[in-house]
């Protein structure tokens, strides 16, 4: 017998005895029923309108110490990035090819590493920032949803010390249940190999529970809604 | 109503004033009180130590003695949890299972009985002191008693209640735990005492005399002037 069969056999043997559940008594083992989720009713409340969601995202971002900007055009976003590049003294940034990244990073005035078809990780290590698109922004938690397909791979959003996210207005969604529904709708059975909810810059409290940003990933996270 | 008062062992021996206060309050409210002489202890020390058959030997006569009681009021949250929650567990799948469930459903912790069962909140008490309230763990988490004692205290004249930050933290007694692991039990009690002291209260009020016993034991050793008192004694003042 394989270990797979051994383990599954022990599980089946164990489950022959119906479990006792505190407050419910002995519960007979019925077939697993499809469960209807009410998570949206329990989780933190999110407003209906775009404005309410922007404000919630903005408040969450501020609490997480992430930068958030709502800019009204791609030109404004590009100008914002150019300012940032100058202010921070960026020499090289990494990005991937996407509809927003292409137009906004076109004349940033610094060297650019494109990750699309693979890249040298030592080269990415020298980049001052990673600029990515995303799948969605989650108002409820202030999170950025990225995947290995939407955001230039796995490392681009976490290796450089500064992560810039470019999002469209319609990418701001209400809550986590909506985010998972969106993933299923977008990718179906062909999910990317990595899906990540990024909630604020990299952080740690491992030393005396004192908050420190930039533990291993980006010390700075900036989110731009371009609309 | 004919109220059967269950006086636990340590209330009988060391804190009779709490029991006497309950008798006086219940009688003043017009109820007939009886205290079965045969009942000494709910059996929790043996139960919590893992000796369930030995516990049944203590609990069974109690089940039988209280079979015909109209309502049972118990003078401790912890012993109340034993009777209400753990007797059914103890007698599960035995011929006494139904009797245990019957007893559980007609047993009330004292403050819960007053507020929930009788709907009484003002007993005309007057206690001109600053107090803080300690939630005994069993009363709080096994029986869900949090508001009842506070509702009663809110109606006591000239009483000022100041909540301590550690109101819901265990005092460290835990029955046999306090003897098996005295150092941990004491450390927990010190946290409780420090939190009570911070409020500037003169009295720690609780609906559980066993917690009071532990807290008072620590306060006395530390030479603190702070005193513990049972809720019933506060409610019985005039």
């Amino acid at each position: 017998m394989t270990e797979r069969e051994n383990i599954l056999g022990r599980i089946r043997e164990a489950l022959r005895v119906p479990a006792e559940r505190h407050g419910h008594g002995v519960v007979q083992n019925s077939p697993s029923a499809p469960h209807e989720s009410h998570a949206s009713d329990w989780l933190p409340v999110v407003g209906e309108s775009f404005e309410q969601r922007v404000e919630l995202f903005r408040a969450n971002a501020a609490e997480l110490k992430a930068d958030f900007h709502l800019v009204d055009s791609r030109e404004a976003a590009a100008a914002h990035l150019r300012e940032l590049a100058t202010a921070k003294g960026w020499k090289k940034v990494a990005t991937h090819t996407g509809e927003l990244t292409r137009s906004i990073c076109a004349d940033l005035g610094v060297d650019i590493l494109i990750t699309d078809d693979g890249y040298d990780v030592n080269e990415m290590e020298t980049c001052d920032a990673g600029i990515t698109e995303c799948d969605a922004l989650v108002a409820q938690t202030g999170s950025v949803l990225v995947t290995s397909r939407s955001a230039g791979g796995r490392a681009l959003s976490v290796l450089p010390p500064h992560h810039i996210v470019l999002a469209r207005r319609d990418q701001l969604i209400a809550d986590l249940p909506a985010a998972f529904a969106l993933l299923k709708q977008t990718y179906g059975a062909g999910m990317p190999s990595m899906i990540s909810f990024i909630t604020g810059p990299s952080r740690t409290g491992d030393i005396e529970r004192i908050l420190v940003l930039g533990a291993h990933g980006p010390k700075h996270l900036a989110v731009l809604i371009v609309g | 109503m004919r109220v059967t008062l269950f006086i636990p062992c340590f209330v009988d021996m060391c804190f009779p004033r709490a029991g006497i206060a309950m008798v006086e309050i219940l009688e003043r409210l017009g109820h007939t009180v009886e205290c079965p002489e045969e009942i000494a202890c709910c059996g929790q020390p043996a139960f919590n130590s893992g000796y369930w058959p030995e516990t049944r030997a203590v609990a069974l006569p109690i089940l039988q003695r209280l079979r015909n009681a109209e309502v049972v009021v118990i003078a401790s949250g912890s012993c109340g949890a034993m009777v209400k929650n753990f007797y059914p567990e103890l007698f599960k799948e035995t011929e006494h299972a139904q009797a245990a469930c019957d007893l559980a459903s007609k047993t009330f912790e004292f403050s819960d009985f007053l507020v929930t069962k009788l709907g009484v909140t003002d007993l005309g008490a007057r206690f001109p002191h600053k107090v803080t309230f300690h939630d005994g763990c069993h009363g709080l988490r096994e029986l869900g008693i949090k508001k009842q004692p506070r509702t009663l205290l809110a109606h006591v004249r000239e009483l000022e209640l100041v909540e301590m930050t550690e109101a819901e933290s265990c005092c460290g007694f835990g029955g046999t735990f306090s003897a098996k692991f005295p150092m941990i039990s004491t450390a927990m009690g010190e946290v409780k005492c420090a939190s009570a002291r911070e409020t500037g209260a003169e009295f720690i009020v609780s609906n559980d005399a066993s917690c009071n016993m532990h807290i008072q034991g620590l306060l006395d050793r530390q030479g603190q002037p702070l005193k513990t008192i049972h809720l019933a004694e506060v409610l019985n003042t005039r």
Binding site: N6, I7, R10, I11, L15, V17, H22, V27, P31, S32, W42, L43, P44, V45, V121, T141, S148, V158, F180, K184, P192, S193, I195, S196, T199, S202, R203, G205, D206, I207, E208, V212, A215, H216, G217 | I7, M13, P16, G19, E37, C41, G43, P45, A46, F47, G50, Y51, T55, P61, C137, R141, G174, F177, A179, M183, I184, A187, M188, H214, L218
Partner: protein, 464 residues
């Protein structure tokens, strides 16, 4: 020394260490304040707990089906799924991959199951260089000690101690600044991610319907561990299964709030296979090792089966007054605190670990804090019963038999009172000395006095 004696000795030492108690309690106070603030944002935290508990209950009680579905879907996306009944088998599987790849260096993100099966020791014995990348884990690895808390591994150390450690081990300049200390570790670990041959991670959840594992972290170290090395191995207990991807919508925020007082943890990442065609990076191979290691023994205990619902958030440790006073190392277990006291007897043997179930006041703070509503403190009671049922202490058994006789006899009970009063007259002569029969109590506390008139005496006087 056996585990019970070690527990008792360490508990005694640490409860007397006021500096240690202050450090842990003030850290956990910060947690409590943050957790309460975040919980207050939920529309209904209690209903969220009920739903989370229901989902996990169902998952655990249909574990065979969910595991099989998980493996099928993972393999369909190119993940290699391995099954290990024991810690030894899991170590062999991982060492086998390491040897096949001729790997020399390994970067790890936090893997509690790795601690459970002593994975680092096995890898080091095979001449691997193994580096922990989670800051807390890295610190305790440098100190050659076990994690102090399965969520906050280095919570017992002050900035000064960490600075001294880094100075000694890494040659860094001393500093009292948590930010600078973190940057020292960041610099030390950066190159390790890039040069490591293999990344090893744990998993917080595994999703049956998609064959993905979900990893929760704040630092980004797991993201890097799972992005850069050519091979990624995830080691996880078989109980981590959730049926549906969208179940994470509830579990990810609840894990963050209950465990660390956050709305959501910094990075919540789902891995569904190795690098796919068209993706920029990612490992060439992704292995998932499913570990039993006596979890099926816990599953077979119908009373305590719900302990397998645990999502390892650490909430029960954070609120436990025992944990707050004795600290994490005292337990001597991989999983500390109430959940450790419940599951360790199943994982490692009841008679050797039963003392953990007795080292509790049964206050139930753990049960109230548990986001998946595991009946923790009642399980401690059941373990006490199981332990004494198997192997009673002869003197305790006699004592409780006598106690039953005493409690059932009003005459004997009445007699006990004058005897106690008599004893009290002489008690001051031996009080708080080793001769005191009540020494365990009186060494630190005053004993209550038997009242001049007991309640029963009062009652008898009223109703003669």
């Amino acid at each position: 020394m056996n585990s019970a004696a070690q527990f008792r000795d360490d508990a005694k030492r640490l409860t007397h260490d006021l500096r240690h108690r202050e450090l842990i309690q003030s850290a956990l106070k910060k947690y409590e304040v943050a957790r309460d603030a975040k919980k207050a944002r939920y529309q209904d935290w209690e209903s969220a707990r009920v739903e989370a508990s229901d989902i996990k209950w169902d998952a655990v009680n249909h574990l065979d089906a969910h595991l099989a579905e998980f493996a099928r879907n993972a393999e369909a996306h190119g993940t290699k799924v391995h099954w290990a009944s024991t810690g030894g088998q899991a170590r062999e599987i991982i060492l086998g991959i390491v040897r096949e790849k001729n790997a020399r260096s390994i970067i790890k993100s936090k893997v509690m199951t790795g601690e459970e099966i002593h994975l680092n020791e096995a890898l080091e014995k095979a001449d691997m260089s193994v580096v922990e990348s989670d800051l807390g884990e890295y610190i305790v690895q440098l100190r050659h000690e076990a994690p102090y808390h399965f969520v906050f591994p280095a919570m017992h150390l002050t900035r000064g101690e960490i600075s001294d450690l880094f100075e000694r081990e890494l040659g860094s300049a001393p500093t009292n600044d948590a930010g600078e200390l973190t940057m020292i570790a960041r610099r030390a670990l950066r190159k390790k991610y890039i040069t490591a041959d293999i990344g090893i991670s744990g998993a917080n959840f595994a999703i049956a319907e998609t064959g993905m594992v979900s990893i929760t972290e704040n630092e980004g170290n797991a993201r890097l561990t799972c992005a850069l090395p050519k091979v990624h191995i995830a080691l996880m207990g078989i109980e981590k299964l959730l049926p549906k991807l969208e179940d994470l919508a509830l579990f990810l925020p609840m894990l963050a709030t209950a465990g660390a007082g956050q709305v959501l943890t910094g990075y919540n990442t789902m891995y569904g296979g190795p690098r796919q065609p068209g993706e920029a990076d990612g490992p060439e191979e992704f292995h998932v090792v499913l570990l039993d290691n006596h979890r099926t023994r816990l599953l077979a205990d119908a009373e305590q089966r719900d302990a397998l619902q645990c999502i390892r958030c650490g909430a029960c440790l954070n609120v436990c007054p025992i944990y707050k006073n004795v600290g994490g190392h005292t337990y001597g277990t991989t999983y500390q605190g109430p959940i450790g006291a419940v599951i360790t007897p199943h994982l490692r043997g009841l008679q050797d670990w039963k003392h953990l179930s007795f080292a509790s006041s049964l206050c139930g703070a753990c049960t109230s804090a548990c986001p998946v509503k595991i009946d923790l403190h009642h399980h401690l009671l059941q373990s006490r019963r199981n332990a004494r049922g198997q192997k009673p202490l002869w003197w305790e058994k006699i004592a409780f038999k006598l106690f039953a006789v005493l409690a059932n006899s009003p005459a004997l009970w009445a007699l006990a009172k004058p005897m106690a009063r008599f004893g009290q007259i002489f008690h001051p002569l031996v009080k708080a000395t080793r001769l005191d029969p009540a020494y365990v109590w009186t060494q630190s506390r005053e004993l209550p006095k038997v009242a001049p008139q007991t309640f029963k005496e009062y009652w008898k006087g009223r109703n003669p």
